[in-house]
Protein backbone atom coordinates (compact mmCIF):
# COMPACT_ATOMS: atom_id res chain seq x y z
CA UNK A 1 0.00 0.00 0.00
CA UNK A 2 1.38 3.37 -0.97
CA UNK A 3 1.61 6.18 1.48
CA UNK A 4 -1.54 8.28 1.42
CA UNK A 5 -0.58 11.97 1.48
CA UNK A 6 -4.09 13.15 2.40
CA UNK A 7 -4.12 10.84 5.41
CA UNK A 8 -0.67 11.99 6.45
CA UNK A 9 -1.70 15.66 6.56
CA UNK A 10 -5.25 15.10 7.81
CA UNK A 11 -4.44 16.07 11.40
CA UNK A 12 -2.56 19.27 10.72
CA UNK A 13 0.87 20.25 9.46
CA UNK A 14 3.46 17.50 9.26
CA UNK A 15 6.89 18.21 10.69
CA UNK A 16 9.69 17.18 8.33
CA UNK A 17 13.45 17.20 8.90
CA UNK A 18 16.14 19.89 8.85
CA UNK A 19 19.46 20.13 7.01
CA UNK A 20 21.78 17.16 6.58
CA UNK A 21 24.69 18.68 4.61
CA UNK A 22 25.42 21.46 7.10
CA UNK A 23 25.18 18.86 9.92
CA UNK A 24 27.73 16.62 8.16
CA UNK A 25 30.11 19.57 8.02
CA UNK A 26 30.11 19.57 11.82
CA UNK A 27 31.23 15.94 11.61
CA UNK A 28 34.12 16.78 9.33
CA UNK A 29 32.69 16.75 5.82
CA UNK A 30 34.71 19.26 3.79
CA UNK A 31 32.42 21.51 1.77
CA UNK A 32 34.00 20.45 -1.53
CA UNK A 33 33.36 16.77 -0.78
CA UNK A 34 30.37 14.75 -1.93
CA UNK A 35 28.02 14.33 1.05
CA UNK A 36 26.21 11.49 -0.71
CA UNK A 37 29.36 9.38 -0.72
CA UNK A 38 29.05 9.25 3.07
CA UNK A 39 26.17 6.78 2.58
CA UNK A 40 28.91 4.27 1.72
CA UNK A 41 31.87 5.68 3.64
CA UNK A 42 30.34 6.93 6.89
CA UNK A 43 26.83 5.40 7.09
CA UNK A 44 26.80 5.64 10.90
CA UNK A 45 27.26 9.42 10.74
CA UNK A 46 24.47 9.78 8.17
CA UNK A 47 22.17 7.61 10.27
CA UNK A 48 23.06 9.69 13.32
CA UNK A 49 21.79 12.85 11.63
CA UNK A 50 18.58 11.14 10.51
CA UNK A 51 18.03 9.68 13.97
CA UNK A 52 18.54 13.09 15.61
CA UNK A 53 15.76 14.51 13.41
CA UNK A 54 13.38 11.64 14.21
CA UNK A 55 14.09 12.10 17.92
CA UNK A 56 13.49 15.84 17.56
CA UNK A 57 10.02 15.14 16.16
CA UNK A 58 10.37 14.86 12.37
CA UNK A 59 7.57 12.69 10.96
CA UNK A 60 9.12 12.71 7.52
CA UNK A 61 12.84 12.44 6.89
CA UNK A 62 14.61 12.57 3.54
CA UNK A 63 17.47 10.48 2.18
CA UNK A 64 21.05 11.70 1.81
CA UNK A 65 20.85 11.56 -1.98
CA UNK A 66 20.73 15.22 -3.05
CA UNK A 67 23.50 14.78 -5.65
CA UNK A 68 22.92 11.09 -6.30
CA UNK A 69 21.88 11.39 -9.93
CA UNK A 70 24.32 10.27 -12.63
CA UNK A 71 24.92 13.78 -13.98
CA UNK A 72 25.80 15.38 -10.63
CA UNK A 73 27.77 12.36 -9.36
CA UNK A 74 29.86 12.34 -12.56
CA UNK A 75 31.45 15.58 -11.35
CA UNK A 76 32.83 13.66 -8.37
CA UNK A 77 33.83 10.64 -10.46
CA UNK A 78 31.07 8.62 -8.81
CA UNK A 79 28.64 8.08 -11.71
CA UNK A 80 29.06 4.33 -11.43
CA UNK A 81 27.90 4.37 -7.80
CA UNK A 82 24.40 5.78 -8.44
CA UNK A 83 22.60 2.57 -7.45
CA UNK A 84 24.72 1.84 -4.39
CA UNK A 85 24.58 5.38 -3.01
CA UNK A 86 20.80 5.65 -3.42
CA UNK A 87 20.12 2.17 -2.04
CA UNK A 88 22.30 2.89 1.00
CA UNK A 89 20.62 6.29 1.38
CA UNK A 90 17.17 4.72 1.71
CA UNK A 91 18.40 1.94 4.01
CA UNK A 92 20.11 4.43 6.32
CA UNK A 93 17.06 6.72 6.55
CA UNK A 94 14.84 3.65 7.10
CA UNK A 95 16.97 2.55 10.05
CA UNK A 96 16.90 6.09 11.45
CA UNK A 97 13.13 6.39 10.95
CA UNK A 98 12.12 3.06 12.45
CA UNK A 99 8.35 3.11 12.62
CA UNK A 100 8.30 6.73 13.77
CA UNK A 101 8.79 8.56 10.47
CA UNK A 102 8.23 8.23 6.73
CA UNK A 103 11.21 8.17 4.39
CA UNK A 104 11.02 10.42 1.32
CA UNK A 105 13.68 9.68 -1.29
CA UNK A 106 15.42 12.89 -2.33
CA UNK A 107 16.13 13.84 -5.96
CA UNK A 108 18.11 17.07 -6.41
CA UNK A 109 19.13 19.10 -9.46
CA UNK A 110 21.75 17.99 -11.99
CA UNK A 111 23.79 21.17 -11.57
CA UNK A 112 23.79 21.59 -15.37
CA UNK A 113 21.71 23.90 -17.55
CA UNK A 114 19.40 22.57 -20.25
CA UNK A 115 19.28 25.98 -21.86
CA UNK A 116 22.98 26.05 -22.73
CA UNK A 117 22.86 22.40 -23.83
CA UNK A 118 25.34 21.41 -21.11
CA UNK A 119 22.99 18.50 -20.64
CA UNK A 120 20.15 17.20 -22.83
CA UNK A 121 16.57 16.41 -21.86
CA UNK A 122 17.26 12.77 -22.67
CA UNK A 123 20.28 12.64 -20.37
CA UNK A 124 18.33 14.24 -17.53
CA UNK A 125 15.38 11.91 -18.07
CA UNK A 126 17.63 8.86 -17.92
CA UNK A 127 19.47 10.14 -14.86
CA UNK A 128 16.30 10.95 -12.89
CA UNK A 129 14.58 7.69 -13.91
CA UNK A 130 17.58 5.69 -12.81
CA UNK A 131 17.73 7.43 -9.42
CA UNK A 132 13.96 7.35 -8.86
CA UNK A 133 13.80 3.61 -9.57
CA UNK A 134 16.56 2.78 -7.12
CA UNK A 135 15.02 4.97 -4.41
CA UNK A 136 11.64 3.30 -4.97
CA UNK A 137 12.78 -0.33 -5.04
CA UNK A 138 14.95 0.30 -1.99
CA UNK A 139 11.82 1.13 -0.04
CA UNK A 140 11.20 4.90 -0.02
CA UNK A 141 7.64 5.83 1.02
CA UNK A 142 7.50 8.77 -1.39
CA UNK A 143 9.90 10.80 -3.54
CA UNK A 144 10.77 14.48 -3.30
CA UNK A 145 12.25 16.58 -6.10
CA UNK A 146 13.74 19.70 -4.51
CA UNK A 147 16.04 22.74 -4.74
CA UNK A 148 15.11 23.09 -8.41
CA UNK A 149 15.62 26.44 -10.23
CA UNK A 150 14.55 25.43 -13.73
CA UNK A 151 10.94 24.34 -14.23
CA UNK A 152 11.93 22.37 -17.35
CA UNK A 153 14.36 20.28 -15.30
CA UNK A 154 11.88 19.98 -12.41
CA UNK A 155 9.20 18.66 -14.78
CA UNK A 156 11.55 15.95 -16.06
CA UNK A 157 12.41 14.92 -12.49
CA UNK A 158 8.73 14.85 -11.47
CA UNK A 159 7.86 12.70 -14.49
CA UNK A 160 10.65 10.28 -13.59
CA UNK A 161 9.55 10.17 -9.95
CA UNK A 162 5.92 9.60 -10.93
CA UNK A 163 6.90 6.65 -13.10
CA UNK A 164 7.64 4.73 -9.87
CA UNK A 165 4.01 5.06 -8.75
CA UNK A 166 5.07 6.64 -5.43
CA UNK A 167 3.63 9.96 -4.23
CA UNK A 168 5.80 12.87 -5.40
CA UNK A 169 6.67 16.18 -3.73
CA UNK A 170 8.17 18.92 -5.95
CA UNK A 171 9.90 22.03 -4.59
CA UNK A 172 11.59 24.98 -6.25
CA UNK A 173 14.16 27.24 -4.61
CA UNK A 174 13.33 30.95 -4.53
CA UNK A 175 16.46 33.04 -4.13
CA UNK A 176 16.36 35.65 -6.90
CA UNK A 177 14.65 38.84 -7.96
CA UNK A 178 14.18 42.06 -6.07
CA UNK A 179 11.79 40.48 -3.58
CA UNK A 180 13.40 37.04 -3.61
CA UNK A 181 10.24 35.59 -5.08
CA UNK A 182 11.79 34.17 -8.24
CA UNK A 183 13.92 31.12 -8.84
CA UNK A 184 17.38 31.61 -10.33
CA UNK A 185 15.75 30.97 -13.73
CA UNK A 186 13.03 33.53 -13.06
CA UNK A 187 10.01 31.33 -12.23
CA UNK A 188 7.38 32.87 -9.92
CA UNK A 189 5.59 30.99 -7.10
CA UNK A 190 2.42 30.91 -9.21
CA UNK A 191 4.20 29.48 -12.26
CA UNK A 192 5.96 26.90 -10.10
CA UNK A 193 2.76 25.80 -8.35
CA UNK A 194 0.78 25.57 -11.58
CA UNK A 195 3.43 23.82 -13.65
CA UNK A 196 4.45 21.34 -10.94
CA UNK A 197 0.77 20.53 -10.37
CA UNK A 198 0.28 20.03 -14.10
CA UNK A 199 3.36 17.79 -14.13
CA UNK A 200 1.57 15.56 -11.64
CA UNK A 201 3.24 16.37 -8.32
CA UNK A 202 1.09 15.36 -5.32
CA UNK A 203 2.61 18.06 -3.11
CA UNK A 204 4.27 21.27 -4.33
CA UNK A 205 6.39 23.77 -2.49
CA UNK A 206 9.65 25.57 -1.90
CA UNK A 207 12.92 24.90 -0.11
CA UNK A 208 16.36 26.46 0.46
CA UNK A 209 17.22 29.84 -1.05
CA UNK A 210 16.27 32.08 1.85
CA UNK A 211 15.01 32.28 5.42
CA UNK A 212 11.55 31.54 6.77
CA UNK A 213 10.07 35.08 6.69
CA UNK A 214 10.17 35.39 2.91
CA UNK A 215 8.55 31.99 2.47
CA UNK A 216 5.31 33.02 4.19
CA UNK A 217 4.28 35.14 1.20
CA UNK A 218 5.57 32.57 -1.30
CA UNK A 219 3.57 29.85 0.49
CA UNK A 220 0.40 31.96 0.31
CA UNK A 221 0.92 32.60 -3.41
CA UNK A 222 1.54 28.93 -4.18
CA UNK A 223 -1.49 27.93 -2.10
CA UNK A 224 -3.67 30.26 -4.17
CA UNK A 225 -2.37 28.76 -7.44
CA UNK A 226 -2.86 25.05 -6.73
CA UNK A 227 -5.14 22.66 -4.86
CA UNK A 228 -2.16 20.50 -3.83
CA UNK A 229 -0.77 20.53 -0.29
CA UNK A 230 2.22 22.86 0.17
CA UNK A 231 5.67 21.87 1.48
CA UNK A 232 7.99 24.61 2.82
CA UNK A 233 11.53 24.05 4.18
CA UNK A 234 13.45 27.36 4.46
CA UNK A 235 17.09 27.95 5.40
CA UNK A 236 18.14 29.29 8.79
CA UNK A 237 18.31 32.71 7.17
CA UNK A 238 20.93 33.69 4.62
CA UNK A 239 24.48 32.69 5.50
CA UNK A 240 26.89 35.37 6.63
CA UNK A 241 30.56 34.90 6.12
CA UNK A 242 32.97 35.07 9.00
CA UNK A 243 36.62 34.28 8.40
CA UNK A 244 35.72 32.41 5.23
CA UNK A 245 33.12 30.23 7.00
CA UNK A 246 29.38 30.31 6.35
CA UNK A 247 27.42 31.09 9.49
CA UNK A 248 23.63 30.89 9.64
CA UNK A 249 22.46 33.50 12.10
CA UNK A 250 18.75 32.67 12.56
CA UNK A 251 18.22 30.86 15.87
CA UNK A 252 15.94 27.87 16.42
CA UNK A 253 13.62 30.04 18.52
CA UNK A 254 13.38 32.75 15.84
CA UNK A 255 12.73 30.15 13.16
CA UNK A 256 10.03 28.43 15.20
CA UNK A 257 8.39 31.75 16.05
CA UNK A 258 7.80 32.41 12.34
CA UNK A 259 6.43 28.91 11.65
CA UNK A 260 2.78 29.55 12.61
CA UNK A 261 2.77 32.20 9.87
CA UNK A 262 3.68 29.49 7.35
CA UNK A 263 0.90 27.23 8.61
CA UNK A 264 -1.62 30.07 8.39
CA UNK A 265 -0.39 30.70 4.84
CA UNK A 266 -1.31 27.12 4.01
CA UNK A 267 1.80 24.96 4.55
CA UNK A 268 0.97 21.29 5.15
CA UNK A 269 4.60 20.17 5.53
CA UNK A 270 7.08 22.32 7.48
CA UNK A 271 10.77 21.77 8.18
CA UNK A 272 14.16 23.30 7.44
CA UNK A 273 16.93 23.39 4.86
CA UNK A 274 20.55 24.67 5.07
CA UNK A 275 21.68 25.73 8.53
CA UNK A 276 18.74 24.22 10.42
CA UNK A 277 19.48 21.55 13.04
CA UNK A 278 17.60 19.05 15.22
CA UNK A 279 17.23 21.91 17.71
CA UNK A 280 15.22 23.81 15.09
CA UNK A 281 12.93 20.81 14.61
CA UNK A 282 12.41 20.45 18.39
CA UNK A 283 11.49 24.14 18.59
CA UNK A 284 9.18 23.76 15.58
CA UNK A 285 7.52 20.72 17.18
CA UNK A 286 6.77 22.72 20.33
CA UNK A 287 5.44 25.73 18.42
CA UNK A 288 3.30 23.70 16.02
CA UNK A 289 1.78 21.51 18.74
CA UNK A 290 0.88 24.66 20.71
CA UNK A 291 -0.75 26.34 17.74
CA UNK A 292 -2.43 23.42 15.97
CA UNK A 293 -2.35 20.37 18.25
CA UNK A 294 -0.03 17.45 17.57
CA UNK A 295 -0.18 15.58 14.30
CA UNK A 296 -0.54 11.93 15.23
CA UNK A 297 -0.63 10.65 11.68
CA UNK A 298 2.53 8.62 12.08
CA UNK A 299 2.54 8.12 15.82
Amino acid sequence: MHLNIQQLIANGPVLVDGAWGTEFQKWGLAAGDCADAWNLERPERVEGVGRAYVEAGSRVILTNTFRANRVALAGYGLARDVAEINRAGVEISRRAAGDRAQVFGLIGPSGKLLLTKEVSEGELCDAFLEQARVLAVSGADALIVETMSDLAEARLAVAAARATGLPVVACMSFDSGRNKDRTMMGATPEQAARELTAAGADVVGANCGQGIEGYVGICRRMRAATNRPIWITPNAGLPEFEGGRAVYKTTAAEFAAAAPGLVTAGAAFVGGCCGTTPEFIRALARTLSESTGPNLACA
Binding site: A30, A31, G32, G75, Y76, G111, K112, L113, L115, T116, E118, S176, G177, R178, R182, M184, M185, G186, P239, F241, G244, R245, A246
Partner: protein, 213 residues
Amino acid sequence: MTVFDELQQAIINGQAALAKELTKKGLDSGKKPRDFFPNAIIPAMDEVGRRMRECEFFIPEVLIAARASRAATDLLRPLLVGDEAVQAAGVVVCGTVKGDLHDIGKNIVAMMLESAGFRIVDLGVDVAPEKIVQAVKDENANVVALSALLTTTMVNMKGSIEALKAAGLRDKVKILVGGAPVTDAWANSIGADGYGKDAPAAVELARRLAATA
Protein backbone atom coordinates in the same frame (compact mmCIF):
# COMPACT_ATOMS: atom_id res chain seq x y z
CA MET B 1 15.90 52.55 -37.29
CA THR B 2 19.38 51.85 -38.65
CA VAL B 3 20.54 48.28 -39.12
CA PHE B 4 22.70 48.70 -35.99
CA ASP B 5 19.63 49.72 -33.96
CA GLU B 6 17.68 46.78 -35.32
CA LEU B 7 20.53 44.37 -34.52
CA GLN B 8 20.78 45.79 -31.02
CA GLN B 9 17.06 45.11 -30.47
CA ALA B 10 17.30 41.61 -31.92
CA ILE B 11 20.12 40.73 -29.52
CA ILE B 12 18.28 42.16 -26.51
CA ASN B 13 15.18 40.16 -27.52
CA GLY B 14 17.25 37.02 -27.97
CA GLN B 15 16.37 36.57 -31.67
CA ALA B 16 19.43 34.70 -32.94
CA ALA B 17 18.17 34.09 -36.50
CA LEU B 18 17.18 37.72 -36.91
CA ALA B 19 20.52 38.90 -35.45
CA LYS B 20 22.36 36.81 -38.02
CA GLU B 21 20.19 38.11 -40.86
CA LEU B 22 20.65 41.75 -39.78
CA THR B 23 24.40 41.27 -39.51
CA LYS B 24 24.48 39.98 -43.08
CA LYS B 25 22.27 42.84 -44.20
CA GLY B 26 24.59 45.35 -42.54
CA LEU B 27 27.68 43.80 -44.13
CA ASP B 28 25.99 43.75 -47.55
CA SER B 29 25.19 47.44 -47.22
CA GLY B 30 28.87 48.15 -46.66
CA LYS B 31 29.17 48.47 -42.89
CA LYS B 32 32.63 47.64 -41.56
CA PRO B 33 32.80 44.48 -39.41
CA ARG B 34 34.54 46.32 -36.55
CA ASP B 35 31.81 48.97 -36.36
CA PHE B 36 29.18 46.43 -35.32
CA PHE B 37 30.78 46.06 -31.88
CA PRO B 38 30.58 49.62 -30.49
CA ASN B 39 27.35 50.42 -32.35
CA ALA B 40 25.22 47.31 -31.78
CA ILE B 41 26.66 44.33 -29.95
CA ILE B 42 28.30 45.96 -26.94
CA PRO B 43 25.43 48.39 -26.23
CA ALA B 44 22.97 45.48 -26.58
CA MET B 45 24.79 43.39 -24.01
CA ASP B 46 25.12 46.43 -21.74
CA GLU B 47 21.34 46.80 -21.86
CA VAL B 48 20.94 43.07 -21.12
CA GLY B 49 23.24 43.54 -18.13
CA ARG B 50 21.22 46.50 -16.93
CA ARG B 51 17.97 44.54 -17.19
CA MET B 52 19.52 41.66 -15.27
CA ARG B 53 20.63 43.99 -12.49
CA GLU B 54 17.15 45.54 -12.40
CA CYS B 55 15.65 42.02 -12.12
CA GLU B 56 13.76 42.48 -15.39
CA PHE B 57 15.86 39.72 -16.97
CA PHE B 58 16.72 36.39 -15.36
CA ILE B 59 19.27 33.85 -16.51
CA PRO B 60 17.21 32.41 -19.41
CA GLU B 61 16.76 35.84 -21.04
CA VAL B 62 20.46 36.60 -20.57
CA LEU B 63 21.53 33.30 -22.10
CA ILE B 64 19.21 33.72 -25.07
CA ALA B 65 20.52 37.24 -25.67
CA ALA B 66 24.10 35.97 -25.44
CA ARG B 67 23.25 33.32 -28.02
CA ALA B 68 21.86 35.98 -30.37
CA SER B 69 24.98 38.06 -29.83
CA ARG B 70 27.12 35.07 -30.72
CA ALA B 71 25.14 34.57 -33.94
CA ALA B 72 26.30 38.06 -34.94
CA THR B 73 29.89 37.81 -33.71
CA ASP B 74 30.41 34.40 -35.35
CA LEU B 75 29.86 36.12 -38.68
CA LEU B 76 31.96 39.16 -37.83
CA ARG B 77 35.06 37.75 -36.14
CA PRO B 78 36.50 35.98 -39.24
CA LEU B 79 36.15 39.28 -41.11
CA LEU B 80 38.21 41.28 -38.67
CA VAL B 81 41.69 41.75 -40.06
CA GLY B 82 45.14 42.22 -38.60
CA ASP B 83 45.12 44.46 -35.54
CA GLU B 84 41.33 44.43 -35.32
CA ALA B 85 41.34 40.67 -34.74
CA VAL B 86 44.04 40.81 -32.08
CA GLN B 87 42.64 43.87 -30.39
CA ALA B 88 39.80 42.18 -28.63
CA ALA B 89 38.75 43.77 -25.35
CA GLY B 90 41.24 41.41 -23.74
CA VAL B 91 42.02 37.77 -23.10
CA VAL B 92 40.37 36.24 -20.05
CA VAL B 93 41.46 33.00 -18.46
CA CYS B 94 38.54 31.78 -16.37
CA GLY B 95 37.70 28.79 -14.24
CA THR B 96 36.12 27.44 -11.06
CA VAL B 97 38.86 26.93 -8.48
CA LYS B 98 40.30 23.67 -7.25
CA GLY B 99 37.90 21.44 -5.30
CA ASP B 100 34.80 23.17 -6.66
CA LEU B 101 32.62 21.67 -9.41
CA HIS B 102 30.03 24.43 -9.79
CA ASP B 103 30.09 26.02 -13.19
CA ILE B 104 26.74 27.62 -13.96
CA GLY B 105 27.81 31.07 -12.72
CA LYS B 106 31.23 30.83 -14.33
CA ASN B 107 29.69 29.83 -17.67
CA ILE B 108 27.27 32.75 -17.63
CA VAL B 109 30.05 35.21 -16.84
CA ALA B 110 32.15 33.69 -19.63
CA MET B 111 29.31 34.08 -22.15
CA MET B 112 28.71 37.68 -21.13
CA LEU B 113 32.42 38.48 -21.35
CA GLU B 114 32.60 36.91 -24.77
CA SER B 115 29.64 39.01 -25.91
CA ALA B 116 31.46 42.07 -24.62
CA GLY B 117 34.34 41.30 -26.97
CA PHE B 118 36.77 39.39 -24.76
CA ARG B 119 38.50 36.24 -25.91
CA ILE B 120 37.73 33.52 -23.35
CA VAL B 121 40.00 30.69 -22.30
CA ASP B 122 37.71 28.58 -20.13
CA LEU B 123 39.64 26.07 -18.01
CA GLY B 124 36.46 24.46 -16.63
CA VAL B 125 35.94 23.35 -13.03
CA ASP B 126 38.24 22.08 -10.27
CA VAL B 127 41.12 24.04 -11.80
CA ALA B 128 44.52 23.69 -10.13
CA PRO B 129 46.63 26.87 -9.68
CA GLU B 130 49.37 25.47 -11.95
CA LYS B 131 46.85 25.17 -14.79
CA ILE B 132 45.92 28.84 -14.41
CA VAL B 133 49.58 29.87 -14.46
CA GLN B 134 50.19 27.80 -17.59
CA ALA B 135 47.15 29.23 -19.39
CA VAL B 136 48.12 32.83 -18.58
CA LYS B 137 51.55 32.16 -20.12
CA ASP B 138 50.29 30.23 -23.16
CA GLU B 139 47.43 32.53 -24.03
CA ASN B 140 49.09 35.81 -23.11
CA ALA B 141 46.05 36.64 -20.99
CA ASN B 142 45.56 39.98 -19.27
CA VAL B 143 42.60 39.03 -17.07
CA VAL B 144 42.05 36.03 -14.79
CA ALA B 145 38.50 35.37 -13.57
CA LEU B 146 38.08 32.91 -10.70
CA SER B 147 34.79 31.44 -9.49
CA ALA B 148 33.83 29.50 -6.33
CA LEU B 149 30.45 28.57 -4.92
CA LEU B 150 31.62 27.00 -1.68
CA THR B 151 32.92 28.64 1.44
CA THR B 152 35.69 26.07 1.76
CA THR B 153 36.85 26.17 -1.83
CA MET B 154 36.97 29.95 -2.04
CA VAL B 155 40.26 29.78 -0.12
CA ASN B 156 41.73 28.21 -3.24
CA MET B 157 41.28 31.55 -4.99
CA LYS B 158 44.05 32.76 -2.74
CA GLY B 159 46.20 29.76 -3.70
CA SER B 160 45.74 30.60 -7.37
CA ILE B 161 46.79 34.21 -6.82
CA GLU B 162 49.84 33.06 -4.85
CA ALA B 163 50.78 30.73 -7.71
CA LEU B 164 50.60 33.60 -10.21
CA LYS B 165 52.83 35.66 -7.90
CA ALA B 166 55.35 32.84 -7.56
CA ALA B 167 55.46 32.50 -11.36
CA GLY B 168 56.19 36.22 -11.70
CA LEU B 169 52.92 36.81 -13.57
CA ARG B 170 50.94 38.72 -10.95
CA ASP B 171 51.70 42.14 -12.44
CA LYS B 172 50.86 40.98 -15.93
CA VAL B 173 47.21 40.16 -15.17
CA LYS B 174 44.22 41.64 -13.39
CA ILE B 175 42.37 39.16 -11.22
CA LEU B 176 38.65 39.26 -10.66
CA VAL B 177 36.72 36.90 -8.38
CA GLY B 178 33.07 35.99 -8.00
CA GLY B 179 30.62 33.38 -6.72
CA ALA B 180 27.93 33.15 -4.07
CA PRO B 181 30.13 33.35 -0.94
CA VAL B 182 32.54 35.94 -2.34
CA THR B 183 32.46 39.54 -1.13
CA ASP B 184 34.43 42.73 -1.74
CA ALA B 185 36.16 42.29 1.60
CA TRP B 186 37.21 38.76 0.66
CA ALA B 187 38.50 39.93 -2.73
CA ASN B 188 40.62 42.56 -0.97
CA SER B 189 41.89 40.18 1.68
CA ILE B 190 43.27 37.72 -0.87
CA GLY B 191 44.79 40.40 -3.07
CA ALA B 192 42.41 40.17 -6.02
CA ASP B 193 41.85 43.27 -8.16
CA GLY B 194 38.09 43.19 -7.92
CA TYR B 195 34.86 41.35 -7.18
CA GLY B 196 31.85 41.05 -9.48
CA LYS B 197 28.62 40.48 -7.61
CA ASP B 198 26.84 39.30 -10.75
CA ALA B 199 27.59 38.69 -14.43
CA PRO B 200 26.99 42.30 -15.58
CA ALA B 201 29.18 43.59 -12.74
CA ALA B 202 31.90 41.13 -13.76
CA VAL B 203 31.81 42.41 -17.35
CA GLU B 204 32.03 46.02 -16.24
CA LEU B 205 34.91 45.20 -13.93
CA ALA B 206 36.74 43.16 -16.59
CA ARG B 207 36.49 46.09 -18.99
CA ARG B 208 37.81 48.52 -16.44
CA LEU B 209 40.64 46.23 -15.35
CA ALA B 210 41.62 45.20 -18.89
CA ALA B 211 41.97 48.84 -19.85
CA THR B 212 44.69 49.23 -17.22
CA ALA B 213 46.33 45.78 -17.52
